[in-house]
């Protein structure tokens, strides 16, 4: 009746065979683990290299060279008629003021070309700084003040060591004359590198030393707010409907397939859609955070819906049955039990979608957010740009100083991403701990 029992010699042979196999199995296991480790390490190395290269090019964007010079607020230039009203003060010749100061500092300089080179030491943007000072305190007119003025971008690059002084003059953007003046100023302790406040408080500019990321940061923030406010509720509602209420039929199958397809559509297509529908059909102002947010909503929705559905599916059916068995209606089951339990997963999906939207530039190019916008957007319908598009714009600019600013903007973008991901983790933990 019973199966034949293997004889003693058979058993020892079986053991031997298993042992031999075991060695092979353990070897394979070690090899497999080594592959995994190698993959993880190489991934980390790439990321480290990326960060290193961005930070090493970009950290100088956070400082800016300033030149100390005695400025006489000459009434002849600012307010020749002595009216002292805001309108006159606004249109005063402030670049004349610092040019005069430079001429007084280096009185031996003569001739139009040489003077132009001399004026090139100081950024044109300093005129606006001087104007704002006078507008803030008109009593300055007629007085002399020692002020730190922003150096022009080329001088700034030279001071930061990004331009090689040993190059022959014709291959260098800084002339020998300028070098001499700069050295003279340095000798008098009149050149200093300071924290680049402008980079964080200004909008875009054609002049690198006057360009800042604030406009793009505010634009990104407004755009993402629109995206979040629209895509999270819509995405969650769609996921809840599809998971909990939708009848299983062809129509819902079709919706499902299409949502999955939408997640794979290249983002620039959403830009074209936004251009055709939101701007041309509905007449939403172009280049604005509103239309950008709408387009990114379209792009983010599939991600949020798919993540939310997965989170809802992961809610144990026993909880659903328990609530139904207590006499909870379908909506109560969803609102009291399914949604709270699925919320961490939904939030994660939303934040991943938001992070993707934050880094997106292609669809926004299609709806005009690539325009040069110097003002900081104040509302959802103001023209604006976003951080990745700002990076794109600066990377495209010929000035040497935009190189470090591009990396600087990337660092700001990465910081935003880190903050968002940290928020996702914190939110998830908070929600999970409640249960």
């Amino acid at each position: 009746m019973n199966r034949p029992v293997p004889a003693a010699q058979d058993q020892s042979r079986i053991r031997e065979r298993v042992e031999r196999g075991l060695r092979r199995r353990y070897r394979a296991e070690r090899r497999f683990r080594a592959y995994g480790l190698a993959a993880a390490v190489s991934g980390l190395l790439f990321v480290a290299f990326l960060f290193l290269s961005i930070i090493s090019t970009g950290y100088t964007a956070f400082v800016q060279t300033y030149i100390r010079i005695d400025i006489r607020f000459n009434q002849e230039l600012i307010d020749p008629e002595g009216k002292k009203d805001t309108e006159t003060l606004r249109i005063g010749d402030y670049s004349g003021v610092f040019k005069e100061a430079l001429r007084e500092k280096f009185p031996q300089v003569e001739g139009r070309r040489e003077l132009r080179q001399l004026y090139g030491l100081i950024s044109d943007g300093s005129a606006f700084d001087l104007r704002d000072m006078v507008l803030g305190d008109p009593r300055l007119i007629g007085q002399t003040r020692e002020l730190w003025l922003m150096a022009s971008d080329d001088i700034d690059q030279l001071v930061k060591g990004k331009i090689d002084r040993k190059l022959p003059e014709d291959q260098r953007v800084i002339s020998d004359l300028q070098l001499g003046w700069l050295d003279a100023l340095t000798g008098e302790d009149r050149v200093e590198r300071r924290f680049n406040r402008v980079f964080f408080t200004a909008g875009d500019s054609r002049e690198p030393e006057q360009a800042g990321v604030l406009g793009a940061v505010v634009g990104s923030f407004l755009t993402l707010m629109v995206t979040l406010v629209l895509s999270f509720p819509i995405g969650v509602a769609a996921a809840v409907y599809l998971e909990e209420f939708a009848p299983a039929n062809r129509f819902t199958d079709m919706i499902e397939v299409n949502i999955n397809n939408l997640a794979a559509v290249p983002s620039i297509v959403f830009g074209l859609l936004g251009l055709a529908v939101f701007i041309q059909f509905f007449g939403v102002p172009r280049s604005a955070p509103l239309v950008g947010g709408l387009v990114l909503t379209l792009m983010t929705l599939p991600t949020i819906i798919i993540a939310s559905r997965a989170a809802i599916k992961a809610v144990p059916p026993s909880i659903r049955e328990a609530a139904l068995g207590m006499g909870a209606s379908q909506v109560q089951v969803v609102a009291h039990h399914v949604l709270p339990l699925a919320m961490p997963g939904m939030l994660t999906g939303a934040i991943i979608g938001m992070a993707r939207a934050l880094g997106e530039s292609a669809p926004l190019l299609m709806i005009g957010m690539v325009a040069f916008i110097a003002d900081i957007p104040g509302s959802l319908t103001d023209p604006a740009t976003v951080l990745p598009v700002q990076v794109f714009l600066w990377a495209d600019s010929p000035e040497r100083a935009f190189l470090e600013r591009t990396s600087g903007a990337i660092m700001v973008l990465l910081a935003f991403l880190l903050v968002m991901n940290a928020a996702a983790v914190i939110l998830r933990q908070k929600f999970e701990r409640r249960w």
């Binding site: 026993s318 207590m326 006499g327």
Partner: protein, 289 residues
């Protein structure tokens, strides 16, 4: 006479056995024993349940009496849980499930259009196989039902309901100092008693229990069984169980199911000491199942 019925049922059993082996669907068998009781809470008449093409139970008629525990036993897949889930219409959540026949609660057809399923489930509570407290505090678990049905006018009344439900479920002494701790942190047996407390908090007339002790150790099982016996004073209880000892210990009537048929119903004493049908006898003596 008795001998004659015995022979009849034996031949019937033979027919079912051959049909099960052969695969073709035989006609429904008449249930042995009296399915009716005087003054029932719930009645089932000619109930059929299909899951898609598959027939899960066939022409089942059975009454549930007041203040009585009725045990449903049978091998896996015999349809006892399916019938249980029909009694509070939890099968509605399975899209392919089709229920025919009539099931009444206090003379009202529960599958009628007018019947509100939310109200039905408040009157027919359910305790599941795996303890499934909500991931909320002990208090919130018990208060959930009264809250959604609006049973308590204010917080004091709700506190009273929670306390009395936990007391009746025999859990109050163990949890009264940690009502705000998560229900999921309790032990398995405590969780199951919490689920029972949660069910009785809405004041049901019938409590359905789907293998309530199969995930519990013998001590926790004994506590639940004692509790079931106490609850019988106030509620009608239907319990599905795989443990025949449990059926014998807690129930007054027992129904034996086999492959979707209700084979035999009778007082628990009768079923376990003197089964009429051969299939029942085979099952309770451990010859199969």
């Amino acid at each position: 006479m008795a001998v004659e019925s015995q022979t009849q049922s034996r031949s019937a059993a033979l027919e079912i056995a051959t049909a099960a082996a052969g695969g073709s669907e035989p006609a429904a068998r008449r249930t042995v024993g009296d399915v009716t009781v005087p003054n029932p809470v719930m009645t089932c008449r000619q109930v059929n349940v299909h899951y898609g093409d598959k027939r899960a139970i066939r022409d089942v008629s059975l009454d549930v009496a007041h203040n009585e525990v009725i045990a449903m036993i049978g091998p896996s897949g015999c349809g006892k849980s399916t019938l249980l889930r029909c009694l509070n219409r939890l099968n509605d959540t399975i899209p392919t499930a089709v229920v025919t026949g009539t099931i009444t609660l206090d003379g009202q057809d529960i599958y009628e259009k007018r019947q509100d399923v939310v109200q039905l489930r408040a009157r027919v509570g359910m305790v599941f196989q795996k303890p499934n407290p909500f991931p909320k505090s002990v208090y919130e678990n018990v208060a959930y039902g009264p809250r959604i049905h609006g049973l308590a006018a204010d917080r004091t009344e709700l506190d009273e309901i929670v306390q009395s439900s936990l007391q009746r479920a025999g859990l109050w002494e163990e949890v009264k100092d940690r009502l705000d701790q998560p229900g999921t942190a309790l032990s398995g047996g405590q969780q199951q008693r919490l689920c029972i407390a949660r069910t009785i908090a809405v004041g049901p007339e019938v409590i359905l229990m789907d293998e309530p002790c199969s995930a519990l150790d013998p001590i926790a099982t004994a506590r639940i069984e004692d509790l079931i016996d106490e609850l019988r004073q106030n509620y009608a209880i239907c319990i599905v169980t795989h443990s025949m000892q449990q059926a014998a210990r807690v129930s007054q009537r027992t129904a034996y199911f086999h492959l979707g048929d209700l084979i035999e119903v009778g007082s628990t004493d009768m079923i376990f000491t003197n089964p009429k049908h051969r299939l029942t006898e085979d099952y309770i003596t451990g010859r199969f199942g």
